[in-house]
Symmetry: D2
Subunit: 340 residues, 4 copies
């Protein structure tokens, strides 16, 4: 028997979500988002985020959500300021530069894989504003949880967005694992986003139980007006959109999203506790459902031999729990570690 | 009770396809196409198309399939030669110009919404080859069935590709309704594509019973090598790709795709026969599952009042049948027409 | 001895312009347009066009002037509506689609190589406004003189821009030979442009005596604000801009531009008169300095043998006069024609 | 009287170059590079670089030369690896990302503003080759002299290109001040470029006495084949190209380029010697014609008051000498410094 800790992407789909897809599979419906399920999704998002006019664009991958959002937030001559380890900078194959028509990414530093306010300030202070030789910062892009499992607090987000707003930057939040951040912080979705200065959120669902569904959530109108066109001409408007909207609606119904994320975070907390007891060094602050671990090669080899699936990346071992990870899975891993 | 004839996009999902998605919903799987279902899909496509090395990229919309294919077949300074009414020219919001980095579309004429060989030849003869003032034709793009329900024969395709090859153009086939063309012509999939000179096929499934799944099928390697990168950086590689691959695999299994298309084509034939008997003028050759009809406004109003759903576009009425359309639906429409 | 009638591009540089370049060649000057000559140019353009706040961007080719202007006037998902024979559509290698991030060109018909008002209206009426499947017309682009030597009157321009403004299109005028249009119509530069609804003008100078200098003239601010960045990041801001500005300033001083254009137009009128007397059919209305002529191949061969340089394009012969063409040149050609 | 040390861009044009432009100003010539001067330029470049088949594209700015070159050397999904302070990364407004269709820039570290071989190796080792999540390094881009006045030796270039070639990267050299590097190293142009592994050179001339002329020099064919189209559709093919080619031809004739660069380098050496004697700290290795200096604000203020023109950038003072700087200028500056 194996234990899957490679990625939350590797998990299956929540039964409630599959059922919701089946439930809309009768009769016919207007294509391209003109259906009732998509309308219900938008209404539900407004409730969840306590926002009267948020606009929602279902898309099918995190890269699409991020790069399309950013392309609607920066002019082609702008730059997107993000942490130097940000997923959008390191792992999306240049999607934002492509879809934006040539905008660039500027990485800044910060402990814990989070942007340091002083680094952001220094970056903005160093720009020759209005000088076309210099890419003009147009978006502050945050990732929470980061790819290294660390989560911004409401206060941290607000401090950064306040700096960004002094220079009229818009703010994007890559929330591929947003539910895990909500659970980790205990904060209201609104407090983690628009009330803290976020203009557009990539609201992930696929890693946390959906099939293929992410939502771009716009709290301000200008990017949304552009996304009507940008989603279409990049091939991201599916004709049978109701099946995506149904996933997202089920995800946000009866707190399924928080229930799933809570399981992932709690299992990771158990795992991390066990790893530390076993004397294994975890290099990140385990705020959500990822742990990056310094582990001797032989230990990792034995763990693999025992059926634990995980990634070795850049000299480290990465563990990711998901909505499907069970307490038994964690025990199995820790027991195998004890033997190894 | 209503009868849905607006679009095959408005239809539901074939039960067998939903079941296939549920069937892969256990355990975990490698993300981004590294799963067994995606491998099985590629194998199945090679069987269906009798091709030893075709390569398959599942994507989520027809626009994505077309524009990504074309972006991998033309340099940015190229032009895509298509019929002046082609879907890629008229209805994709400029997606190909965008994703290709600025390639242009050149529409040429032809009866029946199909490119006339002499028009293609004249177009190519008029180009100043090698002169950078002039966009250089790089791709011949066919659509079959066209948006007007007409279908190219194997011979028609071969004649056009032969002209294109004299100038080293690659050939793309927009097969958003490819199954309907297979049924309409009775030809083997291989004969309609690579044996007739087609390099890349957009193999549609969504309109014919899938949920959100189209496949780019490359019969030559160069575009496929680029698509590895182009799909990712446009956000078209889903992490849980097995659920898309499962749709496409089920679609191509036990002739589901042909079964569904046959129903659509046959119902349309019945409907068209009835319309003609009723003295209504159909303006296209009804080769597949679409009919464009000259209909007095009052007649159309009454038909709508009777619960028949259809589109009025450019002064005409368009009827589209799908895998779900029943013989009873057709009778209902014809009866309503009789009364109207 | 040869007579040059291939293109006004083939002519030399007006001595006054070369002298103006030499005259600024002392001391040092701020780079990238921060010099006094560029400031003086902008002031002079405002005088010539009787406009209090026009903004000027010197660039180095007509393609740069047109494609950069248009890229600042349309969103990437827009379309540029132009005559189906327009230079920007036929002869710039897709530059506008490239520099705009994927906008498309839509050609419409009209006699005399000029857009017919009813064709423009029909084009706009056929658009599904707000539907992202459909490229959204954003710019009306006029060319005057056209590549076929025809010139719009003030009234013709105003009629077209009025139609365009009902749909909030911006208006661009490709004036690669603008001076020839001013001379041909006798109209004030302001009347031919902003007073008739033109937002941005590509003001050509190279074909009419400059070395390598065209000016983008913006009568509205929004495109100008973008061009600050768009010119730089496409490599169109020269460091020693004063040498370009000096060309344009000399061009617009002491009516040099009109003097040069008047010579070209008058010589063409003489030539056209002679051709007609000789029974040669001219296929365009000779409004400016170009004539397109149906000429038997042997006649053309003999003319070439006599040292007359001209182009044979698409089965026709094209003659272009320039600021350098002399009355003697015209006599020589007509005499040669008489013998041929 | 002022002394100009702001930038070599601020200098005037060498009389020999202006004369060469005037000398071609007679008769007519084929447009768009089909003239004899452009052919002579290509022949001369092949001599100077001792290369039998180098191909030359005259353009009008350094940004155009760099960004167009790079766009022809990387696929849109590639990355351009350069020093973290490189001009192409810091000062071209994202031109390469724009013109390439979305390629990204990756900055690596190194002392003296030059890429450290181990940093390049580490960068390449960290790439997930063939994984589309990861931008694929496609070009190594060097700058010599750097914007900080440091120059790579032939051996340093060869060591870096050798590393790059192990991963099939192409190599670009931004030689906006290439003549200064030739003079500084005493190396043959061929040894500094293609014999050391450079595929494409941006050969600057504007900063060193030309008016507006840079040349892209391709030592390998593939980028040149693309540049035929890429230069046109970005508006960088001037119709009267002979006037640009004449500048470049004069520049490379009778060693004018080396003569001019030698003056700039020697004057800078004198200035730097005087600064050091005066106890001013220079922070770069003064290899060519730029010095970056730590200078107390009051000293800088007094120098300015004495009529010395220079830039204050990022807390430092920058001095740049040019072909026009005289020994007297240097004495004037040093005397003023003595008083300040």
């Amino acid at each position: 028997m194996t234990v899957e800790l490679r990625s939350d992407n590797a998990a299956a789909v929540s039964p409630a979500i599959l059922e919701a897809m089946a439930a809309v599979n009768s009769g016919s419906a207007l294509a391209y988002g003109g259906d009732e399920v998509t309308a219900a999704l938008e209404a539900r998002v407004r409730e969840v985020f306590d926002h009267p006019s948020a606009r929602v664009f279902p898309v099918l991958s995190g890269t699409a959500a991020n790069a399309l959002s950013l392309s609607a937030m920066t002019p082609p001559w702008g730059s997107v300021v993000c942490h130097e380890t940000a997923h959008i900078l390191a792992s999306e194959g240049g999607a934002t530069s492509f879809l934006s028509g040539g905008a660039v990414m500027t990485g800044v530093a910060g402990e814990g894989y989070k942007i340091a306010p002083e680094a952001l300030q220094a970056q903005l202070d160093g720009v020759r504003w209005g000088d076309p030789h210099n890419s003009q910062p147009a978006v502050l892009a945050l990732t929470s949880p980061s790819d290294y499992g660390t989560v911004y607090s409401v206060e941290e987000i607000a401090e950064l967005t306040a700096i960004a707003k002094t220079r009229d930057l818009r703010v994007h939040l890559d929330g591929a694992r947003f539910a895990n951040a909500v659970v980790a912080t205990g904060a209201a979705p609104a407090d983690l986003t628009w009330r803290a200065g976020v203009d557009v959120l990539s609201l992930g669902a696929t890693k946390n139980g959906a099939l293929s569904a992410e939502a771009i959530v716009c709290f301000t109108d200008a990017p949304a007006d552009e996304l009507v066109y940008r989603t279409k001409r990049s091939g991201h408007v599916t004709s049978k959109m109701r099946y995506q909207s149904a996933q997202l609606l089920a995800y946000l119904t009866d707190d399924l999203w928080l229930h799933n994320a809570r399981n992932a975070n709690e299992r990771m907390a158990e795992l991390a506790g066990g790893l530390e007891k076993a004397g294994v060094r975890i290099t990140n602050s385990v705020d959500a459902n990822l742990a990056w671990v310094d582990m001797p090669e032989e230990t990792a080899d034995r763990l693999e031999a025992a059926g634990v699936l995980f990634y070795r990346l850049g000299g480290q071992v990465r563990f990711v729990t998901s909505w499907q990870t069970s307490a038994e899975d964690v025990s199995t891993v820790l027991a195998a570690l004890g033997r190894a």
